[in-house]
Symmetry: C2
């Protein structure tokens, strides 16, 4: 079933007013009919709805709330050395599918791309589309580029900070950390194309980050977030059902 | 250190003759000097070498064999419903990084792309580049497109056949299968963009495939192979070191 994300102010009583872009999608792209069913998320709850008005300003009627939570128990934030736009967009799209809570691009010493702002509107559109497609109920958060210093300052907000470092071959027992210690708020830091600067690694370790391996092969900067997110979601979900 | 794959017939005694394409890379792209170090794989062993001749026909001298095996203990084959070329190339590149043994595109009922041959030379070039970059010692195998019937016939060649099916919510205990039962030769079957046909699912289950979940969200056909490959490599490697 097609899913759409709406803001809370689009819902009044049991009627949802769809914006122009999604109205076009429902009417022109999906060619829906009156009474067709869709699911709608307000970033908190999910509703089963039927189409009651088509055209430029589609309206839906809520049939009932859906109790199906595809979100991970852990909130996983990926802090990623700033990479080129196409790579970042690809990573963002896949991280949404894999259940990531938040993505933070970080200006690191060896980042090829330097100190640029990112196009948050464009990224948010990608996040919305990927969330609808992957049937998530919460939109992944996206930050504008932060400095390395701000990243270090944010360490206090997390229960566990993982530092993905290619040279490290000793695995932290992630299963134990996640399931037995029951951490809820995890930050994973991943370097840009050319990796971390040695001073950055030292600074992160001194501030409590734990080294983890991403396996025995060298992963590209755009593959590393997908690897760790797949592994963390697998550990988080495999005994839940 | 830069890595290059060579054929066995390029090695004679302790001298390796590099082909024109890699010679150009060493001389023009990497701008190496005489005595610079590189690692060379013949798809079996890895050697530390030094450059002894530059130009169009680079020659290397073997210093010693390197004992560092980044390959997984399990041979993991991904059979993937035939997808568009760009998607397949992207998947192939990342599967190499994640340690995949073999990739087989399969002509499935709902494949959008139909019965086409794939450009094996082009894919093999991508595999070689990704293997050099990720420091693998074995090139991932690639098959030309096979029929669904051939896929079923090949089931007998594997110890474990996993069927990634989005609707399935009961997890097979992959950890137990891989570590305790100690399977060596694993096939994972993943559908094309529109998923499997119901008859294909039934046929695979009747022939011994076990259903696995890819988590609670709906993954795209090009994300699913990366998820399962990351998870399987994590399980295979996490207690090895």
């Amino acid at each position: 079933m097609q899913r759409y994300f709406v803001n809370k102010d689009q819902i009044r009583d049991n009627i949802i007013k769809i914006d122009e872009s999604d109205s076009r999608h429902i009417t022109t792209v999906m060619r829906m009919d009156i009474d067709d069913l869709v699911s709608v998320c307000n970033n908190e709850d999910t509703f089963l709805c039927k189409v009651i008005k088509l055209g430029k300003n589609v309206e839906l009627e809520i049939i009932n709330k859906i109790d199906n939570n595809p979100e991970l128990n852990q909130k996983i934030t990926i802090a990623h050395g700033l990479v080129r736009r196409e790579k970042m967009e690809e990573v963002v799209r896949r991280l949404v599918e894999l259940g990531c809570f938040q993505y933070i691009p970080v200006d690191m010493k060896k980042s090829v791309v330097k100190g640029k702002e990112i196009n948050i509107d464009r990224i948010n559109k990608i996040i919305k589309e990927a969330s609808e497609q992957s049937q998530r109920t919460r939109l992944m958060k996206i930050n504008n580029v932060i400095s390395f210093k701000s990243l270090i300052n944010s360490f206090k907000d997390y229960d566990l900070i993982l530092l993905a470092h290619a040279k490290e071959r000793e695995n932290l027992n992630l299963y134990k950390e996640l399931k037995i210690k029951n951490v809820k708020n995890i930050l994973v830091v991943i370097g840009p194309e050319s990796g971390f600067d040695e001073s950055e690694i030292n600074s992160m370790i001194n501030n409590g980050a734990k080294l983890i391996s991403l396996g025995k092969r060298v992963l590209r900067t755009e593959t590393a977030p997908l690897y760790i997110m797949a592994v963390l979601s697998f550990i988080g979900e495999q005994y839940e059902d």
